[in-house]
């Protein structure tokens, strides 16, 4: 605020301000709700002086003029052959920004909001933070207050491009070469993607029906009717009211795409060798096609770490099948015994074929003969759908006949695909009889000519699953293992993240949407190239490559988007990293009540004196001793006693119960009827090193002193 005022008072203090003045004078003026923010943008884009001109021509012309001197300094940032105007504009304004920053750096030392909870800032980064802040809270000279842009669509379009470059390019001005190289590429991607109304389907999320319908038409209406002057920020840092709908829609879509992140690298990965998951998908679809089309008996194991895309690959393979096989989905987590699994197979067969396969309870003879009889209903697959609806009395075969189900699978009139989730757990069932039967069936299927094909697909994340199989089962298993993997390069990870953060917003080519898309894209780029963010993500990536973690990491910043902070920030990512990544043990213990803190300190005392296991009586004894010592020599400050506060045994006991409920104190002996509550033995989950910051933060001196006594 201080900064802003000062600059406003001295608009002539440097060359930038002069240019601001000049550019602001050049445009017509009307609306008082003009934001300081927008004026900042206008300063950076002199093309505003000619808003009616065709967008591309106008901007490029200005670009060449203004950046001519700087091209000599930094020729490497972009190849001259890049046809995209957007990228070039971006670059130029980036330089201009830098000019401004340099000047402002000299004048503005007031605002230095260097919030860096992680402490990764080196001295090199500090000016950067300052600069960024400076730009955001850009001073608004008096003249610029009145600037307005004509309402016509070309004006909107030109602003669109101007808005967009402003946000992203600051890094190239001072950052390392690596960052400079990445930006032209990403911008090119962004530009190639966003202007077309129906870009190539880049992620599964695009398939969602929401994408095909217009986004918040009411807002668009309002824009065209009464808003002459549309910009992104109405107040200093608050998003314009009209754009709240866009922000909300963006939030929604981004959350959707986060829910469905694919770990499969796409985009510029063509030149390299195809990724693990691509080849896995190819192998798997070949295998399934073999079963469905050529009636093969197949078995395979899909092996890969958690959330590496096993299920996704399988589902996509199943989705593209020409005909619908019978799908039997079993999970080792649910079907904990073979009997359960058989029952479940029976139920699913019932649902998918429409009638009970095995004879009902009314009779009788051998299952084999019945199979012959029951075959006929399935010859006509068209009936199936109607049958499911009609067949009101679903009946399961009696449990004594369940074992005959598996051979029947081969005789059905459609190919069968058995999916065994948590395959390793099935291998732990006694005698592995289900696996044996299934895999035996697969082998028989090869032999018999009339079978329609069966595939058994296991999914697991356990590496030694094949070794778990018994010899007779293993010999029937094809041994084919298809591996999946999470993204294995940091760049892949970042690309996945970029894709997740930039879902295609809407199918229609409304100007406002497009404008918003550009702005958002630029913001995402800015976020993802921020060295602090990259550093934090790199740190995360080095610990775990689980895509789910990325999803969780990004969800909080997306959720916290609001009109006053409509873009992703490092700060919100930090908060998210703290809660989602490796959760510190004292995360929730920042605000404990006084008795709870006393009990924690007492437990630390017990621990340091060699008794990690304690009873309530012991803790109370420590507390009483300390209280006695504290009140024996009362210290008065300003007439108030700053000694320990008295606390009755019962209150402490109630708090103790609370700490047990939150598992801060864990009981080490089993519950016993003849040990009373205060003599139960507990140990504390919070170590001294965790208790200390909690107490320090509470700011109670006597508690701190008491804790430091425990050595």
């Amino acid at each position: 605020m201080v900064k802003r005022k000062r600059s406003a008072l001295n608009p002539d203090e440097d060359s930038v301000s002069k240019r601001q003045l000049r550019s602001s004078l050049a445009v017509s003026s009307s609306t008082p709700s003009r934001s300081t923010r927008s004026s900042a943008k206008q300063v950076a884009s002199p093309s505003k002086g000619n808003p009616h001109g065709p967008l591309a021509k106008d901007d490029t012309g200005d670009t060449d003029e203004d950046s001519a001197d700087e091209l000599a300094l930094q020729p490497q940032t972009q190849s001259p052959s890049t046809p995209c105007t957007g990228a070039r504009v971006t670059r130029t304004y980036g330089r201009k920004d830098r000019l401004q920053y340099k000047n402002q750096k000299l004048t503005d030392e007031t605002d230095f909001p260097c919030a860096d909870p992680v402490g990764t800032l080196d001295s090199d980064d500090e000016p950067l933070t300052m600069k960024r802040r400076t730009r955001r809270g850009k001073p608004a000279p008096q003249g610029a207050e009145d600037v307005s842009v004509p309402i016509t669509e070309p004006g909107n379009a030109s602003r669109l491009v101007r808005n967009h470059p402003l946000q992203s390019p600051r890094k190239r001005t001072t950052r390392s070469v690596a960052v400079e190289v990445t930006i032209p590429i990403t911008l090119k991607k962004a530009n190639a993607q966003s202007p077309s109304p129906h870009p190539p389907d880049t992620s599964p999320s695009n398939a969602h029906p929401l994408l095909s319908e217009p986004v918040t038409p009411d807002i668009v209406l309002e824009r065209t009717s009464d808003r002459n002057n549309i910009d992104f920020f109405s107040e200093a840092d608050t998003l314009h009211r009209d754009l709240h709908g866009h922000l909300n829609e963006q939030k929604k879509q981004t959350l959707l795409s986060l829910q469905r992140t694919s770990s499969k690298p796409r985009g510029h990965g063509e030149e390299g060798p195809s990724s693990v998951n691509d080849s896995a998908a190819a192998q798997l679809s070949e295998l399934i096609n073999g079963t469905v089309m050529r009636a093969e008996g197949n078995s395979c194991l899909l092996l890969g770490p958690r959330s590496s895309g096993k299920s996704r690959i399988l589902e996509s393979c199943l989705h593209t099948l020409p005909m619908k096989p019978i799908l039997l989905r079993l999970s080792g987590w649910i079907q904990t015994t073979d009997r359960h699994a058989l029952r479940e197979i029976a139920v699913q067969l019932l649902q998918q074929t429409g009638s009970s396969i095995l004879p009902g309870s009314e009779s009788v003879p051998e299952p084999q003969t019945n199979v012959e009889e029951e075959e006929n209903p399935f010859l006509d697959p068209i009936d199936d759908a109607t049958k499911i609806v009609e067949d009101q009395n679903f009946r399961l075969p009696p449990s004594s006949h369940l074992h005959a189900l598996i051979p029947i699978l081969l005789t059905l009139n459609r190919p069968v695909i058995v999916i065994l989730d948590a395959f390793d757990l099935f291998a732990l069932h006694p005698r592995q009889s289900l696996l044996y039967c299934l895999l035996d069936n697969v082998q028989n299927s090869r032999a018999s000519s009339e079978s329609r094909g069966i595939a058994v697909i296991g999914m697991t994340s356990r590496l030694d699953t094949v070794q778990l199989l018994e010899k007779r089962v293993k010999s029937r298993f094809s041994g084919r293992t298809i591996r999946t993997s999470p993204p294995n390069g940091f760049q892949d990870w970042m690309d996945t993240m970029r894709r997740a953060l930039r879902p295609f917003l809407s199918g229609n080519s409304e100007k406002s949407d497009e404008e918003w898309g550009h702005w958002w894209g630029a913001k995402v780029e800015e976020f993802l190239t921020d060295p602090e963010v990259v550093n934090l993500l790199n740190e995360t990536f080095s610990i775990t490559r689980e895509p789910k973690l990325m999803e969780r990491l990004l969800r909080t910043p997306i959720l916290r988007l609001n009109p006053s902070e409509p873009h992703l920030t490092f700060k919100s990512l930090c908060i998210s990293a703290e809660t989602q990544r490796a959760r510190p043990s004292n995360l929730l213990f920042t605000n404990l009540s006084y008795p709870a803190m006393c009990l924690l300190i007492a437990s630390v005392h017990a621990d340091t004196s060699g008794h990690p296991i304690f009873t309530f009586e012991m803790l109370f004894d420590y507390f009483r001793d300390q209280l006695r010592a504290s009140t024996a020599a009362p210290v008065q400050v300003n007439g108030g006693n700053i000694g320990m506060v008295r606390c009755t045994r019962e209150v402490l006991m109630a708090t103790f119960d609370g700490l047990i409920a939150s598992k801060t104190f864990v009981c080490v002996t089993g519950p016993s009827s003849n040990i009373s509550k205060e003599f139960m033995k507990y140990r504390s989950n919070l170590h001294r090193s965790i208790v200390k910051p909690i107490i320090d933060k509470s700011g109670q001196i006597h508690l701190k002193k008491w804790l430091t006594k425990a050595q």
Binding site: P209, K251, K252, L255, L256, L258, Q259, R306, S307, S311, S331, W333, I334, Q335, T336, H340, R343, E344, V347, Q392, N393, F394, E551, R552, R555, T556, L559, R560, T579, Q580, R583, L587, L588, F589, T590, N591, L592, S593, H605, S609, G610, H611, T615, E617, M618, D621, Y622, D625, T648, E650, V651, A654, T655, A661, S662, K663, N674, S676, E678, F679
Partner: protein, 540 residues
């Protein structure tokens, strides 16, 4: 309904998530005020489930499952599905569960539960006209939902680990298993790391943490509850009359100043406030009633809120009772109604001298009066058994033995409980703090003899004493009486002693354990005039 102060961010996040695209598994952790969190989550879910298409294109159906009450899988399944489809079992129908069209029984095991979930989803989709009905029209009607979304909230999820350990993994993967739009929310005081099943079987949840609620926010939320507590217009029967709202604000602020350091749970503070407030405003209401009586006017006079001066007097007068209310009500030594009755202010409070403050009736422990009524021998037995439980057996001869040389009693050398001994080994914790140990009945009887000989001989009648020549012979006879043994049995049945050996064991003496606390024993010893602290092996 307004969100509880301090929960705005959480409410915002949760409702945004649930009305857009939530993660399949959310974990909410709150350490100190979990009941408030339950209410907040319920409010959010109710709002989300009532939202109509422009705001929320998903029809949300939700269920709150308490893992304490749903202690078997079947209870769990039935609660979830019956609530989701809005089915209430009725006694007249034989309490049947909701049944889908195909009459599949869905409450037997997890497989059938999943089928039941799918059937419920399908049923609700049909009910809301989602899916099949839109096929012919090509485009969805305006104002219709896209899909039905289930939200399953499991409260006190840590209990699952004990009651339904097999359910945790399927619940955390419920979305992928049921293949319907579903979100599971675990709410717990305990961290996920304590519940997480081994081998990475569950996916990690999306964590939402509730940071401790601040004092200002607690006060705000308590004050905002005032209007909802108001029951009638008549101020004489309604201490929560709107005219008293400003006084209540000051009352709550003072209450929070005093009690908030001790507990951060808004519900506990509300409980204390509810116990104190009627007594607090009673003088004002009484004064008003008196005015009414004096005026004898039908219309009555307008109730005026108390002046600043009266307010200060009230707060000063009642200040000490806040602490005593906390001490009695937080551990639930008594209930709010009884406490309020016991601590009603005197009728003429406003005419009392200004410096007076309320005296509080101390809530005595319930068992102490029982113990006082015990016969004298039983008291001795209790003291003896406490000594037997606390002192190590080896020390008995030193504490109670009486040789000819009259060796002085030597107690254990005084060692500080904290810190270590010279050899570096941790110092021993007094047995008094570790809890009673079991003792053989014979040993206790011997100690009883020692106690009686020292403290009880003089009270006996002198007449019989001639028969006993040897010192201690009379006491020997006393402790050999059947009465002592029957007293022991009686005390055991009263729960003051615990028998640790099985009753049908024949070999060896029966083992007991003392079940009265040090404080109670001290009380007894004072009555019996026994110097208990001198007889304890561990120095106090």
């Amino acid at each position: 309904m307004l969100p509880v102060p301090g929960y705005e961010q959480f409410c915002d996040d949760l409702s945004t998530l649930l009305s857009t695209y939530p993660p399949s598994f959310i974990y909410v952790q709150d350490i100190e005020s979990i009941r408030t969190t339950f209410n907040v989550i319920d409010t959010v879910l109710r709002d989300v489930s009532q939202a109509t298409p422009p705001q929320n294109t998903f029809k949300v159906h939700y269920v709150r499952v308490d893992a304490i009450s749903c202690f078997t899988a079947r209870l769990f399944f039935e609660t979830v599905i019956n609530t989701l489809v809005g089915w209430e079992p009725k006694w007249e129908d034989g309490c049947t569960n909701w049944s889908p069209e195909n009459e599949l029984r869905w409450n037997e095991n997890l497989d059938t539960f999943l089928h039941g979930l799918r059937a419920a989803h399908q049923h609700l989709c049909q009910q809301h006209g989602i899916g099949a009905t839109d096929k012919g029209k090509g485009k969805q009607r305006e104002g219709s939902y896209d899909d039905v979304r289930f939200v399953v909230v499991v409260e006190r999820a840590e209990r699952l680990k004990e009651n339904l350990p097999d359910m945790i993994v399927p619940l955390t993967r419920l979305t992928e298993m049921a293949r319907v739009d579903l979100t599971v929310i675990f709410v717990s005081q305990v961290g996920w790391e304590h519940i997480r099943p081994p081998l990475g079987a569950s996916p990690d949840p999306y964590f939402m943490d509730i940071q401790g609620i601040s004092k200002d926010n607690v006060a705000k939320s308590l004050i905002s509850n005032f209007s909802s507590l108001s029951v009638s217009e008549d101020i004489l029967n309604n201490p929560y009359h709107p005219a008293l709202a400003s006084l209540y604000t000051h009352f709550i602020t003072t209450l929070c100043d005093i009690c908030f350091p001790f507990t951060h749970d808004p519900q506990e503070l509300q409980y204390i406030a509810a116990a104190r407030w009627p007594g607090f405003v009673k003088p004002i209401i009484d004064a008003y009633k008196q005015q009414l009586d004096e005026q004898m006017d039908e219309n009555g006079l307008e109730f005026t809120p108390p002046s600043e001066e009266v307010r200060m007097r009230l707060i000063r007068y009642f200040n000490p009772t806040f602490t005593s209310a906390l001490e009695a009500l937080l551990p639930r030594l008594t209930n709010a109604t009884d406490w309020a009755k016991a601590n009603e202010p005197p009728p003429n409070l406003l005419s009392l001298p200004r410096t007076s403050t309320a005296s509080t009736t101390s809530t005595s422990k319930p068992d102490s009066s029982n113990i006082r009524a015990l016969p004298r021998m039983s008291k001795f037995i209790l003291v003896a058994s406490f000594l037997a439980s606390t002192n190590p057996p080896k020390s008995d001869i030193r504490m109670f033995g009486r040789g000819l040389d009259e060796k002085k009693r030597r107690r254990r050398a005084t060692a500080k409980t904290s810190g270590k001994t010279k050899s570096g080994a941790p110092s021993k914790i007094p047995q008094r703090l570790l809890g009673p140990t079991a003792f053989a009945l014979d040993r206790m009887v011997a100690i009883l003899g020692g106690l009686l000989e020292e403290n009880d001989v003089d009270t006996r009648m002198g007449g019989l004493a001639k028969e006993f020549k040897i010192p201690g012979e009379y006491t020997d006879m006393e402790i050999g009486r059947v009465g002592v043994y029957s007293n022991v049995i009686e005390l055991t049945s009263m729960g003051l002693l615990h028998r640790t050996s099985p009753p049908d064991r024949l070999d060896g003496p029966p083992m007991f354990k003392c079940a009265v606390s040090y404080e109670t024993t001290l009380l007894l010893a004072k009555e019996l005039d026994v110097a208990l602290n001198d007889l304890l092996w561990d120095p106090m």
